[in-house]
Amino acid sequence: MSSTRLRLVFFAGLILLWEGLVRLHIWPSYVFPSPLAVARSLFDGILSGMVPIAVLTSLRRVALAYAGSLLIGIPLGLSLGRSRLLQDTLGTLVLGLQALPSICWLPLALLWFGLSETAIAFVVVMGAVLSITLSTADGVRNTPPLYLRAARTMGARGWRLYAGVILPSALPAILSGMKLGWSFAWRSLMAAELLYVSLGLGQVLTLGRELNDMSRVLAVMLVIISIGLLTDYAVFRPAERRVRQRWGLQGNA
């Protein structure tokens, strides 16, 4: 069975199991709604424009903050990976900060930036930037010494050595940092939107809870999951596959 068909069968089975459990009437429907009720809620949400607006708002926020994280994280990682001094000082700080869940930055962000988009962006950047930085630094540090010697014996130095050898050699690691950073950014945004801020998917989720509308809560959760999966399948997997193929890290798959 092909892997796509296997997946289809698995999820169809899961939905059937769900429907079966609902029909057993163990829990009341406001606690455990049927798949159909969730689908209807999703459909209504899309028709009323609420879900599309929330999706667009959240995507715009995450895209901006993620772009910012890349702009900060990649150069920071590149310099951390090459400088022993920075690695021992700033590198330790970055490693320490990674232990802090990004949503813990929200109180600080609210005090600094007020109830604004900037506060949200700050939390998302803090969620994404650290893993991007650390993976990039790792990739740079793990440049095979043989590549460096080969490039140097051909007269490459300074910027050319950096852009021509160290950066491309670190690209697989940078890419996996970007992927990790993206999922952290998405999670941080949802957490921040749950706690505060108008529009956005997180707020629709909170609204569902306040209205005691379980179908809507589940519908929005499905939307959040789908967006995460879709980005992974549409952006990161193809990019990773291309890099792995090119770098010869796997056969001709």
């Binding site: 014996t153 051909m154 007269g155 770098w247 010869g248």
Partner: protein
């Protein structure tokens, strides 16, 4: 020992070169009083037991490492850091997987500031020299080991170096491929007139390729003996004269291998 004054008649001249690697576990003297000279266009082989400082010698000539004492001259001038007039080829091809074959060959030319179009042309003509022109657009991982090493050779030659430094470049290849590459290297050498310093631990390989073979002693390395080989080329590996010569060199080498092993044993016993 006194040496004649530095003379530009020598392409390469190493005088009294010493190098010690320092580490928390102790000092490892790699080279001590090494004197090596190579005439322009000469094919010089450095032969010795493993760990005798052959690779260090090449690294020093390439400018990737610095000698503690002694001088290294090229055309009578002290060498500086790494430069494309002396290019090192490694045991592993060290090709960049993110570039296709043509761009790998063109890599060093970019560092010299050659315009893109010209780089590509030079790279392609170099690939023709090693008979890989139809693989110009291929990925590195699609090539066999021997083909990769030919690309590495083309990449080095594209820079038009005066000296080619080769660090056991064929050691990881199977016997047939190695012999084919011996022939190819010799025809490239006679076509281009490069000075080649070729490091190997294989006696027959040294005799097949070299005009002159320097046998290095066990660590710390210095030149122990010198063999001239003026058999007509190409020299078949199994020719009687060559096998006889190899016997003589081997006898000399064996005592050095033993010395190297004894040294290693002593090191194991010292905590």
């Amino acid at each position: 020992m006194t040496l004649p004054p530095a003379s530009p008649a020598w392409k390469l001249e190493l005088r009294g070169v010493s190098k010690t690697f320092r580490s928390p576990h102790g000092d490892f003297p790699a080279l001590q009083g090494l004197d090596v000279r190579a005439a322009p266009g000469e094919f010089l082989c450095l032969l010795g037991p493993s760990g005798c400082g052959k690779t260090t010698t090449l690294n020093i000539i390439a400018g990737l490492e610095q000698a503690d004492t002694g001088t290294v001259l090229m055309d009578g001038q002290p060498i500086g850091g790494p430069a494309p007039d002396r290019v090192l080829i490694f045991q592993e091809p060290a090709l960049f997987p993110w570039l296709n074959v043509r761009d790998n060959v063109a890599f060093g030319l970019a560092a010299q500031g050659m315009p893109r179009r010209q780089r590509q042309r030079t790279a392609e003509s170099q690939l023709e020299m090693v008979h890989l022109q139809e693989f110009a657009a291929a990925s590195v991982h699609q090539l066999s080991g021997g083909m990769k090493q030919r690309v590495a050779l083309a990449r080095a030659l594209a820079l038009n170096p005066q000296v080619l430094l080769m660090d056991e470049p064929f050691a990881a290849l199977d016997a047939q491929t190695r012999e084919a590459l011996h022939l190819e290297l010799q025809s490239l050498w006679s076509a281009t007139g490069k000075t080649i310093v070729f490091v190997t631990h294989n006696v027959r390989e040294a005799l097949v390729l070299g005009d002159r073979v320097l046998l290095l002693s066990a660590r710390p390395g210095h030149v122990k003996s010198e063999f001239h080989c003026d058999l007509p080329r190409p020299r078949p590996m199994e020719s009687h004269t060559l096998v006889d010569m190899a016997q003589a060199v081997l006898a000399d080498l064996r005592s050095e291998v033993q010395a190297a092993q004894e040294e290693a044993r002593r090191e194991q016993h010292t905590p």
